[in-house]
Assembly symmetry: C2
Homo-oligomer: 289 residues x 2
DNA sequence: AATACCGAAGTTTTTGCAATTCCATAGTAG
DNA sequence: CTACTATGGAATTGCAAAAACTTCGGTATT
């Protein structure tokens, strides 16, 4: 019961005519006769009977034809579907964003304005290695099996966000130890960022009092803007800060920054937009400076 | 996209392991590798990727596997279904009953008491030629393409049915012309039988007055039994007459009879019960005598 | 005479196997 | 902790068997 024979059979069943069917599928007529006979042999059933010098379907042949009526289109749709998938996949950029997710999300939104057919597969997974673009930081040990084809290390300054109505807001910059008694808002799930910030504080000689641990930069903004606390705010990672009630102050000492590592990989299948989006990301960072 | 390759692929997809799959489907591992590669080539897509020293499905492979999950069982069910059909068909006796249908129906009911799995395909169609058993009469021109393997011609006497309360009922037999003024009940749809009966009357020198034309022997019985008419009643064709209000009289002149021709054919596929039922039919006629 | 299916012989393509190679992991010793 | 070795597992190559096609000729139907 090979598929080809079933297709042959189906053609003959439709034409009810060997020669025409053979012509249709572009093989010699004896080959077709043989194929049908071998199929009949396999099923141990007559599929056609001679009627005059033509042939007609038997009860069994009719049944087989009806079954094939649904099965063959089903099978034929597979290559087409896979082709569609291929197209979609080639337009997909696989991202592994271990840091600076909000920044990348903004970049994606911006990028799609000019490339509306681009698709982004966005993950945060230290294990995953088969991505086009990985963004990590100096605290992370993301080890890919293959070397990146391009790699950019960007120093990201980390500001102190203070409420506008606080006494700090008019300052140009600040010493971190000056806010040692303030209450801090920290990101809970961005643990790595939390670790770094704690290190800053310990360099400044204090251990921060935690007012609130939140999941989202937005929540951090909201809490700061109530005037009840301060927070560290990374230059790029959380996107632009556009809240009139919060002010970002550079920290004089200690040096508050971290390294953003943006890597481009050659994946298979080749992603059409990967390299272009990589360059777009770097440009976005430059524009922010 | 041959079915075999798809099956091979499916095995590999299930095992996620070439060698094990090759063992499972009983071919050598290189053959399997080649088959998969050729499938990948046809679809222009990688179906597996190496992971360490094993292989795992790609996105495309996963999709193909899921599709096959429904398609393969669908195809595999076909031979089984055809086998079932074959069994059923072999137990079917194809009848073409151009005369004596009631008689045959009784025989079928009787026969199935001893052969409950026998199936009867009962038709009345002068065109149809691929039947196991054909019953016709001397007035019919049923011409099959092949000669019958067995043939039995039986003379069927045709009685005159009269009401029990009529003056004819005590007689042993009757001259047809004696009932020339009676009103007749004729079968309308059994046109051939009607023709014969009209011939009998014309031989007897009269044209019968028609009281009623009916479709069913039962209706004929009912009408006769009201005492309002007489009718011709074939010896076998309409089954036994068991009605206390009607009496069957042999007709002395003209000779009232017709020939029942019962033929057995060799059909393909071979019907298991055809010959046996043929003999049963003949025996039923003998028993009636 | 024309149409249409079937059969036989020869050729090409596909499929399968065996031996081998290549690669990645795991184990082991210095 | 590095390096050498063993092992598991897939890919490559070369060759044999089987399947599928083609051409040519045959036979039956109209």
């Amino acid at each position: 019961m090979e598929l080809q024979k079933l297709r042959y059979f189906y053609a003959v069943a439709k034409f009810q005519h060997m020669t025409k069917a053979a012509e249709y599928i572009s093989i010699a007529q004896p080959a077709l006769s043989q194929a049908i006979k071998s199929l009949e042999n396999e099923l141990q059933v007559e599929l056609f009977v001679k009627k005059g010098r033509n042939i007609v379907l038997t009860e069994y042949g009719l049944y087989l034809k009806e079954r094939l009526e649904t099965i063959l289109p089903e099978i034929d749709s597979i290559p087409a579907e896979i082709d569609k998938m291929k197209k979609r996949v080639s337009k997909t950029v696989k991202l592994n964003i271990l840091a600076a997710s909000a920044f990348v999300i903004n970049a994606i939104v911006e990028y799609r304005k000019n490339h509306p057919d681009a698709v982004f597969d966005f993950e945060q997974n230290e294990q995953r290695t088969d991505c086009d673009i990985v963004i990590s930081t100096n605290g992370l040990t993301h080890s890919s099996l293959v070397p990146s084809v391009n790699r950019c290390v960007k120093t990201e300054r980390i500001y102190l966000a203070v409420p506008k109505n606080s006494s700090y807001s008019p300052m140009e910059s600040i010493e971190l130890r000056d806010v040692r008694d303030e209450e801090f808002v920290m990101l809970s799930n961005a643990r790595l960022f939390g670790v770094i910030c704690n290190e800053f504080c310990s360099k400044a000689g204090f251990y921060p009092k935690i007012l609130f641990e939140s999941d989202s930069p937005t929540a951090v903004q909201n809490i700061i803007s109530t005037g009840t606390g301060v927070a560290f705010w990374p230059e790029y990672s959380w996107g632009e800060l556009n809240n009139d009630n919060v002010v970002l102050l550079p920290v004089k000492t200690p040096v508050c920054s971290r390294e953003l590592i943006i890597e481009l990989y050659e994946t298979l299948p080749r992603s059409e937009y990967a390299e272009d989006f990589y360059n777009f990301l770097l440009q976005q960072i430059s524009d922010n400076e």
